[in-house]
């Protein structure tokens, strides 16, 4: 061991200690000393909870923004907003956030894993459809729609999703539940005809009903529950203080006034909150039980990851090779277009390209199922990288090879097909294989457009069971099982190339 190492470990330790002191997720007295209550929410979740202020999108607005100010005021501090992805907000507790206030529904699982405040709002689940289109009633969901199961959009990780999945599993409704990262996404997709219906909290639809004039509420709300403020179980003092603050706000009428200002039926809310029932915490599962229950789901999502990667990569290679050949040997006028194609696809994030395919194409009348959109997006994105690899590969074949082929009377295309491309393909095998491994991991981005692959499934299961570490290990093992064989193949290709050219093993 180098004599410097202990000192280095000590200094890293010091940094970690310092960081954890600075980090939020603290007990009440820390919060008060800091003068700030860090609260996590997702402004993509939308109104009326938390959303970018239309007058100044740098600021956030929403009834929960005002509620948090009131709670923080009761604690004698100010609120500081922390942006997070909605279904992963609870993970920020004890790390960078003191509490989560963002339409978090009170469930037995959350009672088990976190400290849940007394309810501050009663929500109701509302089915939405397009005007003049089926389904016309909730009861119609009991039978399949005109073209198979009804396609129903929900916010990933929300009570709407749990409720619809549970009813679907029990066979009460014939639906395909499609999870989105934002509530507005499912309204968009319902409006453009990709979805048959959506389910969300009624207050959300009431808030956006004018913007989505084509949409309507189908029947009365069919289920409901309560919003709660989440805190870490490690900060009971803070939890008690928040509970007390909510109590004060309810008794002194400030909460009712707040809801009335937001058109959220203050009086009705107060009556609902008065009679809120206790939700018992869910029981903890054993590890064996956990794995038995989650492994089939994780395996089938790993299957989706394989489908995404294996379907998109051959297309990426075919397009990439065509683009590379076009740039090197095609007509002169074509080259700038192909260069533009490559630069645009390499220069913009894959996530953005997937969004464009999935959310923008339906606006011009081109509706692609999520899986096809995902495969297409991955294929186009990777085709840009593959074309650069193939371009380098084609250039690496000595010019004498091309001249020898031409001298034999082969046309340019025959020379490419029989002499240049086969040699280039061998040259680029190692980088292409490692790109395939990278693609395997990039498939996780597809969850942004509702395709549930392994990473998404992990995050959903980890949150619903609260077993973040155990499931992470299982998921990582599954990824390894997929990428390890590829790494071996890649190494085999490399070894083969390192042997003097042409020798057969």
């Amino acid at each position: 061991m180098s004599p410097r190492l202990p000192r280095r470990i000590a200094s890293i330790g010091l940094i970690i200690v310092t960081l954890s002191c600075v980090a939020a997720g603290a007990e009440l007295d820390d919060v008060q000393r800091r003068g700030e209550l860090v609260w996590a929410a997702d402004q993509e979740g939308g109104g009326p909870h938390v959303f970018p202020d239309p007058a100044d999108p740098r600021r956030i607005s929403g009834f929960e923004v005002e509620l948090t100010e009131l709670i923080a005021g009761e604690l004698g501090v100010k609120g500081r907003f922390l942006q997070g992805q909605w279904d992963r907000l609870p993970l920020l507790l004890g790390q960078s956030a003191d509490c989560v206030i963002n339409g978090i529904e009170l469930t037995p699982e959350r009672r088990r894993d976190y400290s849940c405040s007394r309810p501050y709002f009663g929500y109701a689940l509302q089915l939405l459809g397009r005007r003049g289109a089926a389904p016309a009633s909730f009861a119609e969901l009991a039978d399949p729609g005109p073209s198979g199961p009804w396609r129903v959009g929900v916010l990933t990780g929300s009570a709407a999703e749990m409720e619809m999945r549970a009813r679907s599993v029990r066979g009460e409704v014939q639906v395909e539940v499609i999870g989105y990262d934002g509530t507005l996404d499912s309204l968009e997709q319902l409006q453009s005809g990709v979805l048959d219906a959506a389910v969300m909290d009624d207050c959300i639809f009431a808030f956006y009903a004018d913007r989505y004039a084509k949409l309507r509420a189908v029947d009365r709300p069919f289920a409901g529950g309560f919003y709660t403020v989440l805190t870490s179980k490690a900060t009971p003092g803070l939890a008690a203080a928040i509970d007390a603050a909510l109590g004060t706000l309810i008794t002194d009428g400030r909460l009712k006034a707040l809801y009335d200002r937001w058109d959220l039926a203050g009086r009705q809310q107060m009556l609902i909150l008065r009679d809120a029932a206790e939700v018992p915490p869910a029981s903890q599962r054993t590890l064996v039980e956990l794995i038995r229950q989650t492994l089939p789901l994780l395996l089938s999502s790993a299957g989706m990851t394989i489908v995404l990667a294996c379907a998109s990569f051959p297309i990426a290679i075919a397009i990439g090779l065509a683009v590379a050949i076009g740039r090197l040997h095609g007509p002169v006028w074509l080259a700038p277009f192909l260069t533009g194609y490559v630069e645009v696809l390499r220069g913009t994030p894959l996530m953005l390209q997937l969004y464009a395919i999935f959310f923008l194409l339906p606006k011009v009348g081109l509706v692609l199922p999520a899986l096809l959109a995902a495969i297409l997006g991955l294929a186009l994105n990777y085709s840009a990288y593959e074309s650069e690899i193939y371009r380098a590969g084609l250039k690496a074949v000595p010019l004498g090879q091309f001249e020898a082929a031409l001298s034999l009377g082969l046309s340019k295309w025959q020379a490419l097909r029989h002499v240049l491309v086969p040699q280039a393909v061998r040259i680029v095998m190692p980088p292409v294989t490692s790109d395939f491994i990278a693609l395997f991991k990039d498939t996780s981005v597809c969850s942004a457009i509702t395709v549930i692959e392994l990473t998404k499934r992990y995050s959903v299961l980890a949150l619903s069971t609260g077993r973040i570490v155990e499931l992470a290990v299982v998921t990582a093992l599954l990824y390894l099982c997929m990428s390890w064989p590829l790494a071996l193949v890649s190494r085999w290709f490399e070894a083969r190339l390192e042997r003097p050219a042409g020798t057969t093993p």
Binding site: E403, S407, L408, L410
Partner: protein, 227 residues
Amino acid sequence: MIQVESLTKHRSGVPVLDAVSMAGEEGGVTALVGPSGSGKSTLLRCLNGLDCFEAGAVSIAGHRLAPGSNPGGVLEALRRDVGMVFQQFNLFPHLSVLDNVTLAPRTVLKTPAAEARSRAVDLLDRVGLKSFAAARPATLSGGQQQRVAIARALAMQPRVMLFDEPTSALDPKMTAEVLDVIVDLAKAGQTMVVVTHDHGFAKRAATWVVELAAGKVARQGTAAEML
């Protein structure tokens, strides 16, 4: 069979070929000699259109090349009748020796596989390499590779064969194997143009010798007159 009329070519403003005229008759072996950089390779590459030229004309094996770039169809038709052997062999490393020889007949002439194969085996036999048909080019010696390259060009039954210093990458023993094959071809009446530094070989095989110097024809005549 071969007619070159005041061929002129520049490279980055410098004349590489300056009004070069020469001729080669059917069945004749023309040796191109001259100091390094005098334009021998460039002239040879103009004969099968691998290089283009600015002025003059080339007629070869019934095909005609004009100044500037020629249409792909003209070039392909010409190259079917004009074979070329390079100093560095340029065998296709991803194909077996046999497939190197059958590739052009099969893709260009659409010769059926079985026929192309049996003719290729005959050609490999002729250059003494029948037993290497299944080998990869990289496992062969330089002299063997160059003989495969000759067989590969012959598979198209060219009317003219062009050789660019076919033995200068080889040691004396391998040089002898390759030259023997070329001399045999000459005896069989194959029209050829050979760029060479080897005066012994030129004396032995050439019917006509053209000497280039600085892109111009310095002298030409029979081998006996010239060397």
